[in-house]
Symmetry: C2
Subunit: 341 residues, 2 copies
């Protein structure tokens, strides 16, 4: 039998390949594979569904991840996908497989984080599955949300001339991860040495206990704003912008100087001799929202300090470009974190 390595396709290529002949038959299926979440019709409301799997050793390292934070984050990454559809999450299911090295107390701690996230975001835990694994801890969460008919936002609706926007700041989660990995290495190489986290609470918190942008979706609703396209930042700004460009058949111009980076994160990046812009473009796991807007809506967003306009959409022929602070123009490439890398 022929054998083709999965690495030849990468994650997105693999999904495209396996689902290329996927046909949907139920009239209630409005949007299937290929966005942050799927959309199902339910008489007057629309249901949004997303799912994410987190694997120990691939997506998280229990050496520096408290189980409570892991439970919290497992929920957040799914809620973020629901918000990225301009929808409100309402329920989750939580499935887990774990080896016998986990105690009941450890799972209680994990669940404390799950419930904390559910409480904060007003989401109900409605089901799941628990089983054993041969090795490691595997978490699979499905989140369900609702949205008024036709109000959901995909990656494919951006228009030429739209503003390209992002919430919050970018790159901090990657810098937090870099710091945690560095201290793990020191700890393993020099037994007894305690980790020096340099009071970098902000970037570490962004990595270990991210939040989802519920506030932005509420702001959109309160101000009657509907983005033309939207995606959340899980793999890095470059990767997310390229998804919007590809699925909307457009190009874009991104201004490096407009990319929001937190001051503490920027200082720490310089200390590590890392480029803060590269961290924002390729870092991932920030769980901010990237979206496009009709320029006519600009007046409605200028007062929201959590939203930055970072560029604009262009025709497909122009390609996806970044204008650097030095005035140079580069093609945007996706070098985001990839579990298949």
């Amino acid at each position: 039998m022929e054998r083709t390595e999965i690495s030849t396709l990468g994650e997105f290529g693999l999904i495209d390949h396996l689902t290329q002949n996927n046909e949907t038959n139920n009239s209630s299926t409005i949007l299937a594979v290929g966005d942050d979440a799927a959309v199902i019709d339910h008489f007057g409301r629309q249901t949004v569904v997303t799912t994410d799997m987190l694997v120990e050793g691939i997506h998280f390292d229990l050496m520096y991840t408290p189980l409570k934070h892991l439970g919290y984050k497992s929920v957040i990454v799914n809620l973020s996908d629901i918000y990225a559809m301009n929808a409100s999450p309402t329920q989750i299911t939580m499935s887990m497989a774990f080896s016998n090295r986990f105690s009941i107390e450890a799972l209680e701690e994990f669940y404390e984080g799950v419930y904390a996230a559910c409480d904060k975001y007003g989401v109900d835990l409605i089901g799941g599955d628990t089983t054993t694994s041969q090795k490691g801890f595997i978490i699979s969460v499905t989140a369900i949300g609702e949205v008024a008919p036709g109000k959901y936002v995909t990656r494919s609706g951006a228009k030429d001339g739209n503003l390209l926007c992002v919430t919050g700041d970018l790159g901090s989660a990657f810098l937090g991860l870099t710091l945690l990995e560095r201290e793990k290495k020191v700890f393993l190489e020099t037994k007894g040495v305690q980790p020096d986290l340099e009071n970098q609470d902000y970037i570490i918190g962004r990595m270990l206990k991210p939040e989802a942008r519920k506030d932005i979706i509420e702001f959109f609703a309160a101000n009657e704003i509907i983005p033309t396209s939207m995606i959340d930042v899980s793999d890095g700004l470059s990767s997310e912008i390229l998804h919007i460009c590809k699925q909307s058949n457009l190009g874009c111009v991104l201004y490096e100087e407009k990319i929001p980076v937190n001051d503490l994160a920027r200082q720490f990046a310089y200390k590590l001799e890392l480029d803060p812009t590269a961290c924002a473009l390729s870092g991932g796991e920030d769980y901010e929202l990237v979206f496009t807007l009709d320029p006519g809506v600009y007046d409605k967003i200028i007062l929201n300090e959590q939203i930055s306009v970072i560029g604009y959409m262009t025709g497909l022929a122009e390609g996806a470009n970044i204008l650097t602070k030095g005035g140079n123009k580069h093609i945007i490439t996706a070098q985001g974190w990839n579990a298949f890398g």
Copy 2:
């Protein structure tokens, strides 16, 4: 820190423990943790959601499980939970983690089975996640279904005097597994010896490629039957009956002679010196439906050869009992297959 082994609670005990303080806040959450599936309200229809995780080495063995069958079965076990709520499945999400020993061709084969099940049961694949694992193949499926308001059936609605019924036949999947495990052992111990599956296509098919009882839910709808309680057979008849008894606060009488066992399976059980009744009670993975009915509905089901009346519900004080062919009365205990065992 205190350490309590998970084995002290078992799977169901663990879920109860971790979810004992679970509160639901969304008015749309009608039924949360604790049944075959959860129920969400959606203006005029109700949405049913279930999820199951399958782990290589725990739930399946790739030495004798063709990947196409595994893909098929991964879908079926979830659809079965939706039917067990008297609902119709409409969509699934499919998440997978796999190590680099899997090729694209292997995943294509797996997906062929997924699509075959989706086609046969009229279900749409609407999303999922694919990622790498450190070891083995882990599958997590969430199924979504719909049901007319108030028509969903839980495990807790059985009444004293209700008929206890089951569909199809029981124990075959366990016998199929026993045969496959025996031949695997022979093969590993004596290299070069080809497995002797003794033309036991029926029991092997029941194990490797089960079906879900869509036909029964359609029969109920066509004949305006609503069971008072229902559950699917994943862990074995004993375990499922005890779930209904416990959640309905009732006892029951089960007649051994009424438990449906396929003739080929019975013969094979005798050959292995196994008790066919024990296989049915404790075997699991048959994905038949166990349900209770008001006796007044009996006339409507007698013509359906796929339904067997196997006993009746009693008051709680009588306990859950089986009357053997020899006329003895025993307490039913759950010795079903348990991934925590």
